[in-house]
């Protein structure tokens, strides 16, 4: 994958024209990545506000730290009110279900899947024969 970067540097010997192209490309790329990082940060602040609270709770006690802790708690409360913590709860629930699954459940799941695919095939055959009929 890193040969992508290697190819980028091959034009180095071509002089000032390439340097100015690199400068323009760098300016655009820095802007692109900056926007992407801002979007990513906002998204994480909104949907992962609980982690922010966990993080600031690890701070030492002090007036500034206390203000930050209370701000983070308020922010998290707002996000929860908007229901933005729901996707994380759903995903964690699914992951916990997967973690707690035992082999008999896997077997049951596989049997259900097989039954569903058999049923699907049967229905499809039925539809085809009806069309033909």
């Amino acid at each position: 994958m890193l040969d992508l970067l290697h190819h980028e540097r091959e034009g180095d010997e071509y002089g000032e024209e390439v340097e100015s192209l690199h400068e323009a490309e760098t300016r655009r790329s820095v802007m692109r990545m900056s926007i992407a990082l801002v979007v990513a940060s906002v998204l994480l602040l909104a949907f992962n506000s609980q982690s922010l609270v966990t993080w600031v709770n690890g701070f030492e006690v002090g007036p500034v730290q206390d203000a930050v802790v209370s701000l983070a708690a308020r922010w998290n409360g707002e996000m929860e009110e908007q229901g933005l913590d729901a996707p994380a709860k759903t995903v964690r629930g699914e992951v916990n279900e997967a973690r707690n699954m035992d082999w008999s459940e896997v077997q049951r799941w596989l049997e259900n899947e097989q039954a569903r695919s058999r049923e699907g095939a049967r229905l499809l055959r039925g539809m085809l024969s009806e069309e033909r009929g």
């Binding site: 980028e8 990082l37 992962n48 993080w55 995903v91 992951v95 997967a98």
Partner: protein, 483 residues
């Protein structure tokens, strides 16, 4: 400061913004990156900042002295002094306690007990990595592969650059220093590569490695006598996957972060568990260390230039020292020695097989193709199990634990406690990616690099959010930090 933490996220946002804002002043940019790197290292333990600087200064002065000396003997002497100084610092911090404990045991066995000057020596994080980078600089200057730097700033940044400082990859002076002499460049390709590697590294470390560690590997290795043979077998497969995801995850993030700052590091892993021989494995596993050992140890020892016996000796010695580099314990020595011995056996066997049946004696045919394919598959399975066997000694805290682990393979009648569908699923998932096309990451990076910025942001933020949400609570340290 661990990569998958909010602290590092904030740190990186600041470094990214400031370093690119000052890109018009390259020297200032280097100062910014150097300051960030020393801050990053000081966050671990500020007391060792002086050691990092001392190690850098020795190598910087040695590089200058070599460049200004024409007498070959004197140049060699300077290299020798610099390498000895670096290894002495490493030796004291890493092996002092190990050496004295081993000596005390030896004296006790011989009935010659003595009071030895034991003391509590704290191991500075990343010392093995920055020492090897320093040696790489001095030797590369001596060999003419790198130019001696007049700027102390460049050497300091080369040795302390934060993405690779504490757990590699071991960056070569000849690869990195020339990048400091060019104007920093950030392209779409850098962004594509950076984002793909950061996300894949986080997923490997936070999800696969952390879950396997807490739910399978740690309990199995805690008391191998209390679990069944199936737990032990899947436990060691789990550890093989855990250490791969842990270490290659760290390397991926390091390479990705460096790419977003405009620098290129070489790849450190290349789907190692698809290797069909041990030699092939070492071309794919921790590539920056194995090539370092090859170029700065195996080749200077003579490599394969002085006959078969010396080649075997050199292989063995290189892997023995590679083993002890990993940690000050006899289990690591055994791990390295085992790899060295098996590499020698493999080389001998291949030589004998080639004599018996030269590879080009039979023109290609269907049967030959099937035979080669079967041989390849058997080679992959055999190599993976050899590597897993050695991992038992690498992971075990003592020979007694490793012995209990091996003895436990007789307990097949007992029910397993830790082999859950979830753990097996994680192992299979990680192994699946060992056999996907090598260019998968490249294709993804090429795809991502053309996304509009907001979509790229959503992908990056959404990816981190998903990984964070799926991952277990808390962040376990990376395995290779202890080395």
């Amino acid at each position: 400061m661990l990569f998958p933490t909010i602290e590092f996220g904030i740190f990186f946002l600041i470094v990214f913004a400031v370093s690119w804002a000052v890109r018009g002043a390259p020297e200032l940019r280097k100062f910014v990156l150097l300051g960030a790197s020393y801050f990053f290292y000081g966050w671990w333990d500020w007391r060792f900042l002086g050691l990092l600087f001392l190690s850098t200064l020795i190598n910087y002065l040695a590089g200058l002295a070599i460049a200004h000396t024409e007498r070959e003997g004197l140049r060699k002497l300077i290299v020798g002094i610099a390498v000895t100084a670096g290894l002495s610092i490493l030796g004291f911090f890493k092996y002092y306690g190990f050496f004295l404990t081993s000596l005390a045991t030896l004296l006790e066995t011989a009935g010659l007990e003595r009071d030895l000057p034991f003391m509590q020596v704290i191991l500075p994080v990343g010392i093995s990595f920055f020492t090897f980078q320093g040696i790489s600089y001095v030797v590369d200057v001596y060999r003419g592969h790198a130019t001696a730097e007049k700027s102390l700033l460049n050497v300091m940044l080369y040795i302390s650059f934060f993405p690779q400082l504490v757990a590699g990859p071991i960056v070569r002076a000849a690869d990195f220093l020339p990048q400091l002499h060019r104007a920093p460049v950030l392209t779409r390709a850098h962004i594509g590569v950076g984002v793909v590697l950061i996300l894949s590294g986080l997923a490997k470390k936070m999800v696969i490695a952390n879950y396997l560690a807490t739910e399978l590997v740690d309990p199995v290795f805690f008391d191998p006598t209390a679990v069944s043979a199936l737990d032990l077998l899947i436990g060691i497969y789990g550890y093989a996957v855990q250490i791969y995801c842990d270490f290659s995850g760290y390397s991926d993030i390091a390479i990705g972060v460096a790419a977003l700052l405009g620098y290129r590091f070489l790849e450190n892993f290349d789907q190692p568990y698809r290797a069909s021989s041990l030699q092939d494995f070492w071309r794919r596993w921790h590539i920056s260390l194995s090539t370092w050992l090859r170029d700065y140890l195996y080749v200077p020892l003579g490599g394969n230039r002085y006959g078969e016996a010396k080649t075997y000796r050199n292989l063995f010695l290189t892997m023995f020292l590679g083993g002890i580099w990993h940690g000050a314990a006899w289990t690591f020595v055994f791990w390295g020695t085992f790899h060295g011995a098996m590499l020698a056996v493999e080389r001998y066997a291949r030589k004998k097989l080639d004599e018996f049946a030269p590879s080009h004696s039979d023109p290609g045919g269907v049967m030959t193709a099937i035979g080669n394919g079967a041989q390849h598959v058997v080679g992959i399975v055999w190599t993976f199990h050899l590597v897993c066997f050695a991992w038992i000694f690498f992971r075990a805290d003592s020979f007694s634990t490793a012995g209990s682990y091996l003895v436990g393979f007789g307990r097949w009648s007992e029910p397993s406690q830790y082999v859950t569908p979830f753990a097996v699923g994680l192992i299979l998932l990680a192994m699946f990616f060992q056999f996907t096309p090598r260019n998968l990451g490249r294709w993804l990076a090429q795809l991502i690099q053309w996304l509009p910025s907001p979509v790229l942001g959503l992908l990056l933020g959404g990816g981190i959010w998903l990984i964070w949400t799926i991952a277990p609570e808390g962040v376990a340290p990376f395995i290779y930090f202890q080395f």
